[in-house]
């Protein structure tokens, strides 16, 4: 249950997905393409996939719960 892949070949670096991600999971990388930085915080809203103009993003619809550790 989270954003899984960003196809760097398809991605045109527009950055719309970073804006669309309310949870701040995606960030622009140094190569001008987005990176999945905080995958545990993805709530599966799929806005990034929905808004991507080149269909470069895939969000898994499968239910899984990340194993989180209590210590920060």
């Amino acid at each position: 249950m989270s954003v899984e892949t960003i196809d760097k070949e398809k991605c045109n670096g527009c950055g719309i997905c970073v804006k669309a991600c309310n949870q701040d999971v995606l960030r622009m990388g140094s190569d001008g393409k987005p990176v999945i930085k905080y995958v545990d915080d993805c709530t599966c809203c799929m806005y990034c996939e929905e808004d991507c103009p080149t269909s470069a993003i895939f969000v898994s619809p499968v239910k899984t719960n990340p194993i989180l550790l209590s210590w920060g």
Binding site: K19, N22, M46, Y47, E50, V62, W71, G72
Partner: protein
Amino acid sequence: MKTKKPIPQTIIKTDVLIVGGGIAGCFAAIKAREKGANVILVDKGYVGKSGQTPHTNTFAAFNPEVHDIENWMNVCNTTGDYMNDRDWSRMVYEQSTACWADLVEWGAYVFRWDHDGVPYECVAKDEDSNDMVVMPLNPVGMGTIQFQQSYRHPTRKNSEVMRKQAVKVGVNIMDRICIIELLKQDGKIVGAIGISPDSDKAFIFQAKATVLCTGPAGLKSPGLRCMSTGDSDAMAYRAGCTITGKEWEETHPVRADFPAWPWAVKDRDRLRTFRGEMKPNTSTINALEENAGLHWSRLATHHLEPFQAFEGKAPTVWEVASGMSEFQIMNQSPKGYPRSELDERYAKSGRVRMVMGRALGQSAHVSDGIWPINKKCESEIPGLYAAGDSLGARACGAEYPGQGFATAYCAVTGKISGEAAAERAAEIPEIAISEQEISRAMEYVFAPYERNGGFSPAWATQLMQSMIFPYYVIFVKSEERLQTALQQILYVQKEIIPKLTANDYHELRLAHETRNMALNMEMKLRTSIERKESRGAHFREDYPKRDDPYGLKWIKVKDENGVMTLTDEPIPEKWWPDFNIPYEERYKREFPIHLNGEHAEGRKK
């Protein structure tokens, strides 16, 4: 990386600060600006893409030429089990058309109401083909209650329209800034402090009036599509405001086989299906999420049984049959993912199984929030206003009246609060924030970041989800289970929240969201314990009926010297139901126990 250097501060002065950029926030910002105020609109996401706004697709615009206000009021009063403030309900309806007209004028997409002798349809422009297509605008299936009409529109596009309009009128939009704490001086709110994941500094907003519009208070349940961390309610509570409406539960469903998958408008293919292929069908029951009055009593009338959950079965909410126009949307699975065996069997018989739990932890749409002291959306603390889901105006009572009400409510209260905030800003002289208040706020905001080691915010959130989400806590409530959950949340509040740690500003936001969610959950559990009856979207197994007149009160939550204190606000008698009407007639929708008492009775033995 953490720095031990002093954190730089940017101080930004404005007349009006709007926190949150959904429908309410955008309306507030635009209307305050039109009144001549300097306006800053901040959002922790991106205005035009964040908020609950993109998720909705109807707008209940009351049109006096074709609609009967008394019918609409009747829907609201009865669906809300007589818990609505009728002055507010009426105000929302009456002002909804003007807000709708604003949206259209700003370039809102789709939606031309075409009465044209064909009820419940609207004409829309297809985004991709640019063709005009007819979309069904189904009546809300409300049992014996009068139908309601509303507009349907793709709000994701309209979020962008509102952003454009805000920019056009000169609103200063600041994206990706998360407001953490209100700033108070001499008993007044004088602004707020926030952080951004993109820069290592504090943003201090000095404002003559602040409007909170950050939306509902949930627990980040998957597939919800909005942030829902209750920041406004928590910030206002800490500042000394009264909060109300926490006991009414949000009951939207998810697909049984893909519970984390946000069904409906998910991608362009589905959007096209939604727009193009659906044929107008006025006889269908609306099974989309804007369906009305999704409370327990309604579920019972759908021959569905919440006590199934106690047998280890999903509490089914809907079985969407193939005859319904929404079946096409509901029946689509994510590409390449097979259904479960059970749901495959359902599909073969032309049904889709939907279960409880889309927005777990939230209160019913626009039913909770900050208590207003007047019809200007003003809170008890001068300088602080609220709108949309953050405003506890009780316009919709104990359950959501359906189809587009929340959208209209957000627009109307956004407009009212924005105008009121601008008026205040024009009246009062320059304000200043003391060094003392700024340093207090700085310490509060950055404590998790400065802490060396501690609990992970994401873990604490997950922990609370597992305390609150189970069916036996918030769907089928009972005294002992609520008390148990409360003790757990209190432990989190006492022992974990003060020791949350953040390695960067992303996690710092999470730490504060977690703190806010914990506070909101405490309010939810305490009010649920306090309300010893069932009503609307609050179902108590141990008190399975409405209790008149005991229940005809709003429960208010307020901090009194560090103690969460609950008080009752009686509902004016003029708004009570007629007690001469027998109970079964007075409340036509029954709670499950009435129809199927043996389940509940059997369980107690």
